[in-house]
């Protein structure tokens, strides 16, 4: 892992130079006063770099991280987004699993709704979020909750599709076994389908976690917000603060990875029979 990281870093430097020299040259050609003489010299200190130089990034990272819990610092806003994402993911998991159960349980339900579930996912949230927020706002649902709901809106679908596949995954003979017990649909669900779907559930939850994160950030950007990574993105984007955008992106990525890692941990706890079995 470290080797790969080192290799990536080594590759990054020339890539960064190459990307920025062009931008710097164009700026210089158009007469910009960048405070540096040659494009190469400017490449590591552009105010609007295509790729930031590590030192630049480091400085911004530090500047935006302290004090961590100030309303204008990134860690605090990451926590705000994390809450929206986690709540959204929880809602999405419950909704997704329920939908999957209904889809697997009833052909009629599947035929009536599946196309519309898919359609709901092809509606661009960024267009829908503002309307949704306005509607919710009318009923006094404000602050972080609408964002969590929008996150759930994006995230429930991967969960539903994945869990539905998982619920259909048991070995036919195992299903026959439960049939011979005259197990109720509910019992077959609890004792067979649900455990068999757990590996699928966690795979889709990992996808859903990043989807939910995207959802809450989109929601923050496109509805009224006072905090969160999305709000920071929006305001720094308006201020052309590219370095700030990169710092926020890093925190966002960190949050995404942390969520996926936590899910992986839960997966290991919940599916102990898989430990040591895989090769």
């Amino acid at each position: 892992m470290l080797v790969v990281a080192a290799a990536a870093l080594l590759l990054y430097w020339p890539l960064m130079l190459w990307a920025n020299v062009g931008a710097a040259q164009r700026s210089l050609n158009s007469g910009a006063e960048l405070g540096c003489a040659t494009a190469l010299a400017c490449a590591t200190q552009l105010r609007n770099p295509v790729l930031p130089a590590p030192a630049q990034l480091g400085r911004s990272l530090q500047a935006m991280s302290v004090p961590p819990l100030a309303p204008t610092s990134v860690p605090y806003n990451t926590l705000v987004t994390a809450r929206e994402t986690v709540v959204g993911l929880l809602i999405a998991s419950v909704l997704g699993v329920l939908l999957a159960v209904a889809l697997v349980g009833s052909r009629a339900f599947e035929r009536l709704t599946l196309p519309w579930l898919i359609a709901s996912q092809t509606v661009p949230v960024i267009a829908l979020a503002p309307m949704l927020a306005v509607v919710l706002g009318q009923y006094g649902v404000q602050g972080w909750l609408p964002k969590a709901l929008i996150a759930a809106y994006i995230a429930f679908f991967p969960v539903a599709v994945g869990v539905a596949a998982g619920l259909r995954s048991p070995d036919p003979m195992q299903e026959d076994l439960l049939t011979t017990y005259r197990a109720s649909g509910w019992q077959t669900f609890w004792t067979l389908r649900l455990p068999a779907s757990l590996p699928f559930l966690f795979t889709s939850l990992k996808v859903a976690a990043t989807a939910a994160l995207i959802g809450s950030i989109v929601a923050e950007i496109s509805t009224i917000s006072f905090s969160g990574l999305g709000k920071m993105l929006a305001e720094n984007s308006r201020a052309s603060d590219t370095l700030a955008l990169w710092v926020i992106m890093l925190y966002g990525a960190g949050l995404g990875i942390a969520l996926v890692a936590v899910l992986g941990l839960i997966e290991r706890l919940v599916t102990p029979w898989r430990a040591g079995q895989s090769r």
């Binding site: 158009s30 910009a32 960048l34 984007s237 201020a239 603060d241």
Partner: protein, 333 residues
Amino acid sequence: ANVPVRMQLKWFPQAQFAGFFVAQAKGFYKAEGLDVTLLPIGDQSPIQTVATGAADFGTTWITDLLTARQQGLPVVHIAQLFQKSGYTLVALKSSGLTDPKQFAGKRVGVWPSGNEYPAVALLKKYGMTTSLDSTVANPSVQAVTYPFDPSLVFPDKVDLVSAMTYNEIDQIVGLGYPLDKLKVFNVSDFGVNLLEDLMFTTQKTLDSKNFKNSGLSGQEVAARLVRATLKGWNYAVANQKEAVQIVLVNCGNTCKGSGTRSSAAGHQTWQMAEVAKLYRAGQTLKGNAGLLDRVTYDANVKQLMDLGILKSAPSAGAVTYSVWEKATGKKAK
């Protein structure tokens, strides 16, 4: 108790809304018996929040108001804060552009979502069409849409970029292009003066006899709000340093400029000075701050109808002067 009022601004907190913040900070609203909440917003139109009742009053641009009205949203203009448009198109001086006639064949970067009209109107006035109009086969100008950060497109991807006098111009300067390297086309200098920041509310609010059970009529609340806001603006324009300090308290990272101009205080000082120019023009200079100038309004309507953006003239209900008259005790002529 004070009457709770939600006022929807048109953007994140910044000096563009100095009058509102000053009125709030100085207690002008309280003095009128109002408890005002100022709501920020991002890319969406304030019309949506006001029309659905998520806010009671709002500020927006005239084009936004009239197009919404055309689509059946019963919103009403009650006061005009900025008497002059602050919309500009900016090019590098080195591009050699000096006259809008030369824009043909150039690429122009505009903000979408209803913020593109001044540029389109200017081009139309000079007989040009843009690629924003999907019915035109060979547009004379290639329009490009982008979010509000000018550095995304300027100067390498477009020849001209839209910029507000009070905001983006300073951003561009911060990118390393001082004013003497820029050529700024103020659309109002070229006969396009589509009015900007105004106050509006819904017909329903104006008609209400008992606004939120306060015992006050909607008209009365509107008049008090306008009166206090104008007081705030007058104070802000007269005491710009103090106004900037008040604004800065209200903004997180939203107030900073970019590049060399990234300090929030510096950028807002610039912005305050520029919006003051927009406020102190037209009717304000005649002692009628907040009054919608009929001539300009009629010219705006005509221009929008020429552009095909308005299909017909807005009904008389689109604008009411009674609120302003009630607020100032003057008679609108």
